[in-house]
């Protein structure tokens, strides 16, 4: 409020009327780091959280692909083994008899 044109505190913003150059504070901190001989470990800069997530995802994909192909190979192998096993249990003459009786029944 103005009293007889005199400036009062309420009229003046309490905001700081100053600014700083762009990126000033990050550059300042790096400058002090250098002055005290501090080097940020490189791993800290390279290993970001998204990198961990991506690596986990790729790992899961790879493992699933590996286990799936193993499973498919096993199931083919199992069916082949079963056929061989059954054939080994049956006598050759019994098979011939079986086919012969089937053909005579069909006539």
């Amino acid at each position: 409020m103005k009293k007889n044109n005199i400036i009062s505190f309420e009229e003046i913003s309490k905001e700081m009327p100053f600014s700083v150059p762009e990126n000033y504070f990050s550059q300042f901190a790096e400058q002090i780091d250098r002055q005290v001989g501090y080097r940020k470990p490189i791993t800290q800069r390279l290993h970001k959280p998204w990198m961990y997530m991506a690596a986990t995802f790729v790992g899961i994909l790879f493992m699933s692909g590996f286990f799936y192909s193993r499973y498919q190979q096993n199931s083919v192998k199992n069916s082949e083994n079963y056929e061989t096993y059954v054939m080994a249990q049956v006598d050759e003459s019994a098979v011939v008899d079986y086919y012969m009786s089937n053909s005579s029944n069909n006539k």
């Binding site: 100053f18 600014s19 002090i32």
Partner: protein, 182 residues
């Protein structure tokens, strides 16, 4: 990285983790200290110099800091001393009288690209520059930062009563300045 004050102090006391902890400390306090200094010296370049001196003093004085006060209080004290020393040296170097230094500071402020205040804010800065340095400190810390008198007491080493009186006088002087310019 969010460290507690105790963790930070512990890391600062160990040579292996000292520089890393100091880097955290700089990032935590640089802005607050910068604005504390800037309100006194007004120019960005001068504030940058004083802030650098402040942190280098703190770095070199780490062994002497026993944790009797909070880190922020300790840093504010260093920043305040560095600011007052800077202004005193500037006054001696230029061999100006008190008024001349403040007049120079105000004319530099008017031409400063990093001052973006309006006409009233500029007038307030001019009024603040008429106060003695210690009173300016008290006024800035109370008016702009709204610090508690108890906090100011630990930083400036002045009693709460004296600080209240100093702020009151500063406000009266600024109001008188406004009356005189109108």
């Amino acid at each position: 990285m969010n460290l507690t004050e105790d963790e930070l102090l512990k890391q600062l006391s160990q040579p292996r983790s000292r520089a890393s902890a100091f880097s955290t400390l700089v990032r935590s306090y640089q802005e607050r200290l910068y604005w504390h200094i800037r309100k006194m010296v007004l120019s960005h370049d001068d504030s940058n110099d004083v802030l650098q001196n402040t942190f280098m003093k703190a770095w070199n004085g780490l062994d002497g800091f026993r944790g009797d006060s909070q880190i922020s209080t300790w840093l504010y004290r260093i920043a305040t001393n560095e600011t007052l020393t800077f202004l005193s040296n500037k006054r001696m170097r230029n061999q100006h009288s008190i008024d001349e230094l403040e007049e120079n500071m105000f004319s530099n402020l008017q031409a400063d690209n990093y001052f973006n205040g309006n006409e009233l804010q500029l007038k307030l800065q001019k009024a603040i520059l008429t106060l003695p340095e210690k009173q300016r400190l008290v006024f800035n810390m109370k008016y702009f930062d709204d610090l508690k008198y108890e906090e100011m007491e630990t930083i400036l080493g002045t009693s709460v009563g004296a600080l209240k009186a100093s702020y009151h006088h500063a406000v009266k002087k600024i109001e008188k300045f406004f009356e005189d310019v109108e």
